[in-house]
Amino acid sequence: MSQLLSQIASTKMMAHHRPWPRAAVNAEGWRFAADQLAAGRWVLVGLWGERHAVHMAVRDEAANESAVLSFAAADGRFPSVARLHPPALRLERTIQDLFGLIAEDAPDGRPWLDHGRWGMSAPLGTHGPANAARYPFLPVEGDSLTEIAVGPVHAGIIEPGFFRFTTNGEAVVRLEQRFGYTHKGLENLMAGATLARGIDLAGRACGDSTVAYSYAFARAAEEALEVNVPPRAVWLRALMAELERMANHFGDFGAICNDAGFALMLAQCSAVRERVLRTSDTAFGHRMMRDCLAVGGVARDLAAEGITAIHALLDETGRALPRLKELYDNTASLQDRTVSTGIVTAALAKQYAAGGYVGRASGRSFDARQAPSYAPYDRLRFEVPVRQAGDADARVWIRIEEIEQSRALIRQILDHLPAGDIRAELRLPGEAREGVALVEGFRGDVFAWLRVNADGTLARAHLRDPSWFQWPLLEAAIENNIVADFPLCNKSFNCAYSGTDL
């Protein structure tokens, strides 16, 4: 038994769950886990439900160990994790909305994804009548306060969400987010689906991370089915993932500067981003590489033409990046906006286990490619940039540094790309099996968990976007900043809406 699980008094190991162990725990064990999370000894990776149970994925970072704990919510209730560990709060509210399971003594019982418009409650559990559409926002008290309501339709071309600002003059004293507008019932559509449809849906959970999501889904399914993915496919996936990371980081770099009123950078970066997308199109047949991964391997091979195009892209980005860096670094009016704006403290980043550039700009070095790691990253050389300032500027720099790392990774992958098959045959499992995977997307770690039935269909799949643990930090980061800096702060986070609404 793993070190992590051996700390829990009473556990029952569940068979056929890979690669992390899964154990059933009682209420005492569940509360113990919540205590460990609250004390900062473990990290919360995921918290999700099914009809009669809740599951929690945790990680002991010091020991580089992960596990899944399950609690049978026999009477439709489970002990609240958020009571002790606030990062669990929105996940618990989601479990309540989708499955009708109640988190006992939770600090906030309001719905999260359920806006009372589905014609029913608990769509993935025992259906009840629709909830009320009215949503009580947190009360605000004090003198000279103004509330500003923004959304769900925003001024720009972005995803829908609702922000309620409470301001005192220009300063924001509180931001309250409300999401769920893009909830499409993805996990319900996955239940009973074939793995092929499952990965199609996973690739449509969050458009800018289509590679990361299908990568996580595929790896979880392959763990469940114990599939040996051909080496060439393993390396091609990483190539796609790094192209996706580079495209998004260039896009963000330009867009963040644009939200600080510096349109020149947007023009420059969006042109480079377009180059990355066109190269991906040449290499894999789709600008965003959607549907290019498959369970068992990849759906598209890389031809000589694609390799040439990627080399050309590396050369071009190698020329462009130093210029753009210098432009960013030497433009005082731009730095004036980004430096010391929207600070996330290291303590909060650690507590929320914030991944991606949000965590790494605030001193948290976690990167799933490094630990727990997965092939082929265990054989590639790269560094994980970390900064301490925690402001919008640091989040820009992390992206710039990650682009440099991705360029180096792509070069290594092209140099060592094995020949051979790109897709393994899948065999029916013959029994229910479960798999879990963590993949580093451009935004942070994407978590996937699934259970495959004996006939190879999906019993249940869950996808957890990195933004679950980043959105709440935006509420904290904006405090005492001025309203006019919100777009800049928000863009420097660039959290996912569809990825968290699912």
Partner: protein, 174 residues
């Protein structure tokens, strides 16, 4: 130093337009769009984009229309923040039930004449999200749609083509 970099950057874009795979077609499209946009609406067409529950893939490609390769504004198109200023409503996503009212209100806030383009496979009829408890059956189940643009997501060239098709239809109707 800074000025030199800026000049260099700006001149680079202006004087050396990057090679485009189907440059001829795009140029043709550009000329056709420019003429028809003028004939139908004088000089410009304002677009309000609403994400009605998309995965964000379509938004990324709509954004790409404004990059220096496509530069949508040279055709007289512009994205506007308020539906009151818009001629065209560009809708993405299957229309989630949680976004239905917001979409209806945006549509109703637009002055006539107005056109609606549903962008992407899921905007057509729900696509891969069809039948979900949380989704409507595409944009046309909520507001009248003039044109569907297929693709997951449609690439920027396909989006440009769609705007042309809409102008043709608008010219006939007008």
């Amino acid at each position: 130093m800074r000025k030199a970099i800026l000049d260099n950057l700006i001149r680079g874009i202006a004087t050396e337009p990057p090679p485009v795979p189907d440059a001829a077609m795009r140029d043709e499209l550009a000329r056709a769009l420019a003429e028809r946009a003028r004939r139908t609406l004088g000089r410009s067409l304002s677009i309000r984009a609403v994400d009605a529950g998309s995965c964000n893939g379509c938004e990324l490609e709509i954004h790409a229309l404004s990059n220096p390769f496509y530069d949508l504004e040279r055709f007289g198109f512009s994205f506007v923040a308020s539906p009151r200023h818009a001629d065209v409503l560009l809708v993405t996503g299957p229309v989630t039930k949680n976004m239905r009212e917001a979409l209806e209100r945006t549509y109703n806030a637009m002055p006539d004449p107005k056109w609606v383009i549903a962008v992407g496979d899921c905007a057509k009829d729900g696509g891969c999200f069809k039948g979900s408890y949380a989704c409507c059956a595409g944009v046309s189940s909520v507001v009248p749609v003039d044109l569907h643009l297929p693709g997951c997501p449609p690439n920027p060239t396909a989006l440009l083509k769609g705007l042309l098709a809409l102008l043709e239809a608008g010219a006939k109707r007008g």
